[in-house]
Symmetry: C2
Amino acid sequence: MQAVNTGKHLILASASPRRRELLAACCLDVEVCPADIDETRRAEESPVELVRRLAEEKAHAAYAALDRSLDVPLLAADTIVWDDAGSVLGKPVDKDDARRMLSLLSGATHHVSTGVCLMAPAGGELREVSFVETTDVRFFELSSAEIAAYVASGEPMDKAGSYGIQGLGRALVRDISGDYANVVGLPVSRVLRELDQLCEGGDFLLSALRGGGA
Amino acid sequence: MQAVNTGKHLILASASPRRRELLAACCLDVEVCPADIDETRRAEESPVELVRRLAEEKAHAAYAALDRSLDVPLLAADTIVWDDAGSVLGKPVDKDDARRMLSLLSGATHHVSTGVCLMAPAGGELREVSFVETTDVRFFELSSAEIAAYVASGEPMDKAGSYGIQGLGRALVRDISGDYANVVGLPVSRVLRELDQLCEGGDFLLSALRGGGA
């Protein structure tokens, strides 16, 4: 899908191609400024607290690294997969780790939370808002042959939780409860509304619904 | 996404490009044989009964029109959008109709049901199975400006219920409960499992998870 140049621009503090595609599908031209931060979880921090803090720290790091004042909104996001025990499932370190995570998710419901932090200029000030969107995802029961086939595809290796819902991993998922794009990596329909709240006369949502153009 | 030729073939009794894409993403090579049937709803027929019957009639019509015996599975499907009053929302007849439907869906939860009928050769016999998958979809509250912007995009005009969740219409949807691909037009993860049940040694699911190949 190609973004129409509408004058709707955004700085994206994330290197994720999936986030860029989701924003382009909402008619947003994105300038990518990835931010490197320490993603270590703090003791006693819940998964939702963690992902909100990571989004905020990414936004602040990207803003600090900007070589100009902020003239368009800046968006930072981080997505985590976690289970009812509060364990966070990151990207697998190797194929054994991917098999371990997929066995854990088999036949069960887990949670996918995306933390989002938005910054925008407003007069001489800088406004900021952050939020967390969570979607529940239920997997089918998976046989070891099914897990082996999916791991052999190579798809799990760069994905939090060892699967991608928008790829071959769609066949693992029985159903979801919540926003679908949030599992892909960014709750875009909520992001558009939060951008409109943050930026007076932004009309991000209207532009996205119209398919670009003024 | 390009389908790998894996020897997994299917006859699709539907002209929907979205269904073809979903099956291709599951590594299925599809031969399209659309079937024309009368889609009139019968008195006292529930939405779920209607969509199951339409899928079965489409499958039978496509099978009858085949110029050879069935050597690979045949899949027919139909998707409907309906509300709690049991009203079915078809494709809009014009822009006013699209606006009417989107106003009806605004701020509310509706249902998307896909009826699927599968036929497959088994020895000298023909096996058949049909099922209905339903996903609940909740819309954000939509202003008349938002509805007007979306109708102006032209996207609603060929879509049941006047929206496409995989297009600009994603921005209308607050959350879903159920299978996402089912709202796009085909519950592929369930279809793969039903195909494996119907066809001994089919390995449709393993092929899809592996990304094609033997």
